[in-house]
C-alpha cells in the first residue's frame, strides 16, 4: 500500500500524497510504523470539525485481519470475550481479547462480512497470536492490512457528504451497521463506526481508490466544511467520548515485561464485554477467578475541577496515593476537565471523591495543583446523533 516518495524508516499510507499536501503544520507522528499527521492546521479547529461539521481521519495503519472458513465464528468466540454469534452479518461489534491470564491484549472491532467471514480491526499487530489461535480450528487468517485503505469520516455533516459521494440511503444505516457500495468500479464499504462518539462513518476501499476517494470527498464536502484531522484532535474527541486507547490507557498484555502492569477487562471498566455464558474463551478461567476474588484496580472516569488537564497525575485519597491518570484533556464541547485513571481497589467507585495532583508549567514555572475530582459513571459527552436512525440531517 505504501506510497513511498523517498527512503524513510516509516511507511506511508495510500492517502499519503493527499495528506502530505494538506498537512500545513508538517507535524508528523509515528503510528504503528506509519507516518501520520499529529495535526494538519490547528488541533482545536480540527476537533471542532468533528463536532460541528465533518472531520476526516486516515486510519489506514489500523491492522486488518480476515477470518474465513467453516470455524470462523467458533474461532472468534474462543478468541474474544464477548458472544460473537450476536454480531449479525453486515454488523460490527466492539471487542477485546485476552491472554490465558485474563489480561487484555488489545481491543478492536469485529466486522461480520458473511456467515463465516469476519474482519478483525485491531490496534496491535497480532499475526502471531491470531495464528496460534488457529490450532484446532478450520479457519484461515489473512493479514489484509495493506490491501484496505480506510478513512474515518466523522461529524454531523458526514452522512450528507458520503451520500453525495454515492452512498445512497446511508442515513438508513444503523449504528454498527455495514453498507456496501462501489466507487469508480471498485468496492467501497461503509460502516457506521468511529472513535468520536458522534454521528460518523468509516469508509474502506482498496488502496488503488484511496487518492480518488480523498479528492472527491474533499471536493463534495467543501460546502459542508469538511476538514482533515490529525491524531491530536482525535485524541481529544475520544477522551471526551469515553473510548480507551491501547498503549495509553492500558498496556497490551503481550508487550508488558514487568509483573503486574497488565490489566483485565474488569480493571478497565470493560466487564460488560465479558460473557461468561460462553463455556470457553481465552482468559475465561482467570477472569472467573478474578470475579470471585476481586480485581486489583478500577477504571475511573474523573471529572476534575478547574481547567488544567490532569495529565500523568497521581490520584490521592486523603494523603494516600491510590491511582494514576492514563488520559486527560479539557474537553471543549462538554466543557469539562476529564481524566481516565486506574485506581487501586476499593477506591474509585462512582461518586468517590478524590484529588488529582496536577503539575503544570507556564513559562518555565511549575505549579502543583491539588484538584478535587469526582468519579463519574458515563462519558460526559453524549451526542444523540450517534444513535439516531435515520441519521439526522444537520
Amino acid at each position: 500500500m505504501s506510497y513511498v516518495s523517498r527512503d524513510t524508516m516509516l511507511l506511508t499510507t495510500p492517502f499519503h500524497s493527499r495528506v502530505e499536501a494538506m498537512c500545513d503544520l508538517n507535524d508528523w507522528g509515528n503510528w504503528m510504523g506509519y507516518t501520520t499527521p499529529n495535526a494538519y492546521f490547528d488541533v482545536e479547529l480540527e476537533y471542532f470539525a468533528v463536532r460541528s461539521t465533518t472531520g476526516v481521519f486516515d486510519l489506514s495503519p489500523m491492522n486488518k485481519y480476515r477470518v474465513t472458513g467453516p470455524d470462523a465464528q467458533r474461532y472468534l468466540d474462543r478468541l474474544i470475550t464477548r458472544d460473537v454469534s450476536k454480531i449479525g452479518v453486515d454488523r460490527v461489534g466492539y471487542a477485546i481479547w485476552c491472554d490465558d491470564n485474563g489480561q487484555v491484549m488489545d481491543d478492536g472491532t469485529i466486522f461480520r462480512l458473511g456467515e463465516q467471514d469476519y474482519r478483525i480491526c485491531s490496534y496491535q499487530r497480532a499475526d502471531d497470536w491470531f495464528a496460534w489461535n488457529t490450532l484446532g480450528f478450520d479457519v484461515t487468517i489473512e493479514n489484509e492490512s495493506e490491501s484496505i485503505a480506510g478513512l474515518a469520516v466523522q461529524g454531523p455533516t458526514s452522512c450528507t457528504v458520503l451520500t453525495l459521494l454515492g452512498c445512497t440511503d446511508l442515513n438508513q444505516l444503523k449504528p454498527f451497521g455495514i453498507a456496501h457500495y462501489s466507487f469508480e468500479g471498485r468496492p467501497l464499504m461503509v460502516s457506521r463506526t468511529g472513535f468520536t462518539g458522534d454521528l460518523g462513518y468509516e469508509v474502506w476501499v482498496p488502496p488503488e481508490s484511496a487518492e480518488a476517494l480523498w479528492d472527491q470527498l474533499f471536493e463534495l464536502g467543501r460546502d459542508y466544511l469538511i476538514k482533515p484531522i490529525g491524531s491530536y484532535a482525535l485524541e481529544l474527541a475520544r477522551i471526551e467520548a469515553g473510548f480507551l486507547q491501547a498503549n495509553v490507557d492500558f498496556m497490551p498484555a503481550e508487550e508488558v515485561v514487568r509483573v503486574g502492569r497488565t490489566r483485565s477487562p474488569f480493571e478497565l471498566g470493560l466487564g460488560w464485554l465479558v460473557d461468561f455464558k460462553k463455556p470457553l474463551f481465552n482468559g475465561r478461567s482467570a477472569l472467573l477467578k478474578e470475579q470471585q476474588q476481586g480485581s486489583r484496580y478500577r477504571f475511573a472516569m474523573l471529572d476534575v475541577e478547574g481547567n488544567k488537564p490532569a495529565e500523568h497525575s497521581f490520584i490521592l485519597k486523603g494523603d494516600k496515593q491510590v491511582g494514576t491518570v492514563t488520559s486527560a484533556a479539557w474537553c471543549p464541547t462538554a466543557k469539562a476537565n476529564i481524566a481516565y485513571a486506574q485506581i487501586e481497589m476499593p477506591h474509585g467507585a462512582v461518586g468517590d471523591e478524590l484529588v488529582a495532583e496536577i503539575y503544570y508549567q507556564r513559562e518555565l514555572h511549575w505549579t502543583r495543583l491539588l484538584a478535587p475530582c469526582k468519579v463519574i459513571d458515563a462519558p460526559i459527552f453524549k451526542s444523540p446523533k450517534r444513535w439516531q436512525t435515520p441519521a439526522p440531517p444537520h
Binding site: L135, G136, P279, F281, R284, S285
Partner: protein, 518 residues
C-alpha cells in the same frame, strides 16, 4: 450422578498406581486402556515363537520403594531378579565393570577410581535433595501457598545441608552438559562414556546437549528412590504391570482393557467423562490422564476445547526420543569377547567414546541413520529361562541414536539399521549373527503406535529444566491439575517425570485427595 468418581486414562504403571491410591481411599475408580493387558510400558510380548521380552521398559531400577510397600506389590506377585553389575564392553575385551562405587578394568587408574567414588557421593547427595522435591507436588514459586512453602523450606534446608561447595557445584552443573562434567571429573574415556550413556538414553540428546546433567540426575534420583539397583522383573516387565493391576483391583479399582479412549468429553466449561472407541460414553467427576501431554491435550481433548495460550504450550512441548529397542531370538547363548558366561546376565553396555556419541547425534538430528549407537543390553533368559524355549535365549537392547522418521522411511530403514546394529554387536560378540533365529527392531514411532507415547518419548516429553519440576509439563498445568477444570494428569508428563518411578501417579492421587477434588 456420574458413573465413576474418577476415570483414569491408561493402565500403565502411573495410571494403576494413581488408581490404587484413590481406590484405597474409597473412591470409585475406572482405569481404561486401549491395550489388552495392563502395565503400559511395563509389558512383555512374544516377539518370536516362544521368545518373550520386555518389549518397552527393560530394567526396573528407579521404582519408588515407598510405593512397593504402600501397595504391597510383593503380595501382588512382584518378583525381582538380583541387582545387576554394569559392564561397559570394550573392543579389546578389557571391560569396564561398574559395581556400586567400585570400578575396574578398561585401564581405569586409581585416580579415576577415587574420582568415581567422589562423583557417586556427590550425585547421591544431589539425588537425596531431589528426592524431597520428587516425593511431593512441585512447589509453585509465587503463589505463597503453605504446602509449597513447606516443600521449598525443606529444599532450602537440604541445599544448606549440602554445604557451600556442593551447592556451588550443583548450581554450576545442573544447567550444563554431561560431556563437560565427565571431562572435569575423569580421564578414562570408557568411564566417561558409560556414565554419559545414562544421561542421554531415552532422550533426544547427545552428551554435549544442555540438560543432560539434569537427565542424569533424574535417573540418579530414581535410583535413590528405588534402592533396588538395576534389576530385571521375573516373568518380564509385563509381570510388573500385572502386579500393579492386581494391587489396583485389590484396592477396589476397576480396570477395563481393550477400551481405547478416543476423546475426553467436555461439557460446558469442564471435563465430564470420556468417549471410547466403541462409542460408549462414561462420565466421572474427574478424568485423570496418564497418557502423555500431547496425546491428552491435542488428541483426546482437542485444541479447540482449551484456551489458546495453553494450546500453544502443548504445541511447543518437546516430546521426541531417539531411542529404540532391539530384540533378538538366539538359538544358543552368545559369547562376548572377554566376558565369562556368568557375566552375561549383567547389564551390558556398548558405547563409543563421548565424541563418538556426539557425532552419532548428528545423523539422528538430520533424519539419517547413524553408523554408531549405544546399547544397553540384557539377556533376560539367563535369570529367567522361562522367557524362551529351553536352551534358547533372547537378547534385548535399548539402542540410542535412532531417528524418529528417517528420510529413507522405516520400510527401507529398518532392515538397514537392523543389520548395522547386528554388525556393531558382532564387534563385541563375534558369531552372534549366526545364532539369530528371529529379530525385531522397535523404533520410536513404533512405541508411539504400540504404547501411545508421542514421539516415542519414554519420559512423555523431554526431560529438560524448562519442562521439569514446577514447569512440568508446562506452566498453567502443573501440580497435576490442568488449566481445564476436571482434567488431571498422573503420567510421566507430570512431575517428576518418566522412567519406571511411579511418583507421578502417586503424587497425583495424593494431590487430588488433598484438594478434595473427589
Amino acid at each position: 450422578m456420574t458413573d465413576y468418581d474418577a476415570i483414569i486414562i491408561g493402565a500403565g504403571h502411573n495410571g494403576l498406581i494413581c488408581a490404587s491410591y484413590l481406590a484405597k481411599e474409597g473412591k470409585n475408580v475406572l482405569v481404561l486402556d486401549a491395550r489388552n493387558e495392563p502395565g503400559g510400558c511395563a509389558s512383555t510380548r512374544e516377539f518370536a515363537p516362544g521368545h518373550h521380552v520386555s518389549d518397552c521398559a527393560q530394567w526396573l531400577s528407579q521404582f519408588d520403594q515407598g510405593i512397593v510397600e504402600d501397595l504391597d506389590l510383593k503380595a501382588a506377585g512382584l518378583k525381582l531378579g538380583k541387582p545387576k553389575t554394569t559392564i561397559s564392553l570394550q573392543s579389546d575385551g578389557d571391560h569396564l565393570v561398574l559395581d556400586g562405587d567400585t570400578i575396574s578394568g578398561a585401564g581405569v587408574d586409581s585416580a579415576d577410581q577415587a574420582a568415581y567414588r567422589d562423583f557417586k557421593k556427590m550425585v547421591r547427595s544431589f539425588a537425596k535433595l531431589m528426592t524431597t522435591l520428587y516425593r511431593s507436588r512441585p512447589p509453585k514459586l509465587v503463589e505463597q501457598n503453605w504446602t509449597d512453602r513447606l516443600t521449598l523450606m525443606k529444599l532450602g534446608l537440604g541445599l544448606k545441608l549440602l554445604g557451600r561447595e556442593r551447592l556451588r557445584d550443583l548450581m554450576r552443573v545442573v544447567m550444563i552438559n554431561i560431556y563437560d562434567v565427565m571431562n572435569e571429573h575423569f580421564s578414562n574415556a570408557a568411564l566417561k562414556s558409560a556414565i554419559a550413556l545414562d544421561a542421554v538414553t531415552g532422550t533426544n540428546m547427545g552428551p554435549r546437549s544442555p540438560n543432560t546433567v539434569y537427565s542424569y540426575l533424574h535417573r540418579a534420583t530414581g535410583e535413590h528412590l528405588g534402592q533396588s539397583g538395576t534389576t530385571q522383573v521375573l516373568g518380564g516387565m509385563g509381570a510388573f504391570g500385572q502386579s500393579l493391576a492386581t494391587a489396583a483391583e485389590k484396592s477396589g479399582a476397576k480396570i477395563q482393557l481393550d477400551s481405547a479412549v478416543t476423546a475426553i468429553v467436555k461439557t460446558e466449561d469442564r471435563v465430564t467423562g470420556v468417549t471410547l472407541d466403541s462409542g460408549e460414553q462414561i462420565s466421572a467427576k474427574l478424568v485423570i490422564s496418564s497418557a502423555d501431554p500431547a496425546t491428552t491435550f491435542r488428541r483426546l481433548l482437542g485444541y479447540h476445547q482449551m484456551e489458546a495460550g495453553m494450546a500453544k504450550r502443548v504445541e511447543c512441548y518437546r516430546s521426541r526420543s531417539g531411542t529404540a529397542k532391539l530384540h533378538l531370538a538366539l538359538s544358543g547363548l552368545p559369547s562376548f569377547t572377554g566376558l565369562s558366561e556368568g557375566q552375561l546376565t549383567e547389564r551390558l553396555l556398548i558405547t563409543p567414546p563421548m565424541d563418538g556419541m556426539e557425532t552419532a547425534l548428528n545423523p539422528m538430528k538430520y533424519r539419517e541413520l547413524s553408523d554408531l549407537h549405544t546399547f544397553d543390553i540384557s539377556i533376560p533368559t539367563l535369570e529367567d529361562p522361562g522367557l524362551a524355549p529351553q536352551g534358547q535365549h533372547s537378547l534385548t537392547a535399548i539402542v540410542h541414536y535412532v531417528p524418529y522418521e528417517p528420510h529413507i522411511g522405516w520400510e527401507a530403514g529398518k532392515p538397514q539399521l537392523l543389520s548395522q546394529l547386528i554388525s556393531e554387536l558382532e564387534g563385541y560378540a563375534p558369531g552372534i549373527g549366526a545364532l539369530i533365529t528371529a529379530s525385531e527392531l522397535v523404533v520410536p514411532s513404533d512405541f508411539e503406535t504400540s504404547h501411545g507415547m508421542t514421539g516415542g518419548s519414554w519420559h512423555h516429553g523431554e526431560l529438560s529444566i524448562d519442562q521439569a519440576l514446577m514447569m512440568r509439563p508446562f506452566p498453567g498445568s502443573t501440580q497435576y491439575a490442568t488449566a481445564v477444570e476436571g482434567l488431571y494428569l498422573c503420567g510421566a508428563g507430570a512431575h517428576p517425570g518418566g522412567g519406571l518411578q511411579g511418583l507421578p501417579g502417586r503424587n497425583a492421587a495424593k494431590e487430588i485427595l488433598k484438594r478434595g477434588a473427589l
